[in-house]
Point group: C2
Chain length 127, copies 2
Amino acid sequence: MIPDSHLDLLTRPLFAHLATLRPGGMPQVNPMWFTWDGTHLRFTTTTTRRKHRNVTAEPRVAMSINDPDEPYRYLEIRGQVERIDADPGATFFGELARRYALAMDGPPGDAADRVVLVVRPDAVSYQ
Amino acid sequence: MIPDSHLDLLTRPLFAHLATLRPGGMPQVNPMWFTWDGTHLRFTTTTTRRKHRNVTAEPRVAMSINDPDEPYRYLEIRGQVERIDADPGATFFGELARRYALAMDGPPGDAADRVVLVVRPDAVSYQ
């Protein structure tokens, strides 16, 4: 589903602007770390955040990434939060921190609340 | 409403990731040119595009911008498409092309269909 021409936008440590829906349908969108394993996108959040409440009630999401070196190249993926995995040791958070070269002295203070949003793409658009 | 600390993200020619809602409520999000005049955001699109159909049916939108030089600095604005102005001479498109330093030989081929999405912010979040 992901065109080879734009796969680099998923494998490079770029920021994805993830749109979720609030109760009542208002969209929100924020930059997020992510990974791509060839079939699913994964994002870290915590159970105390609005984003978690949003996707628990309404799993449909969309994300946009453009190339900072060539900003007219972009990839949009629309899909569904297929499941939410617990990440109580913040293992996935740590994987992301390494991917994005963020120096950490240890697990984050909110490790106990960490979860992984596992997103299955349904459709893409790109330029 | 826009914090002084993040106003530069609106005055610099950065790309905004604009989320709109499809009929049925699926979000979509794409990088977009924009302007900010102190009260409204403006985006160019055409009446033939899905984005125009989306906001005609559902005016609630959200956008996210992060600083390419400091990617953890971001600004999210949620709001409403307050009105859609015609731009048949692509005058606003031309203003954006200059703001984003895109060389143009003349008006775009779709000038006759160009419109301006005028967005009134309702809420912001930032980091």
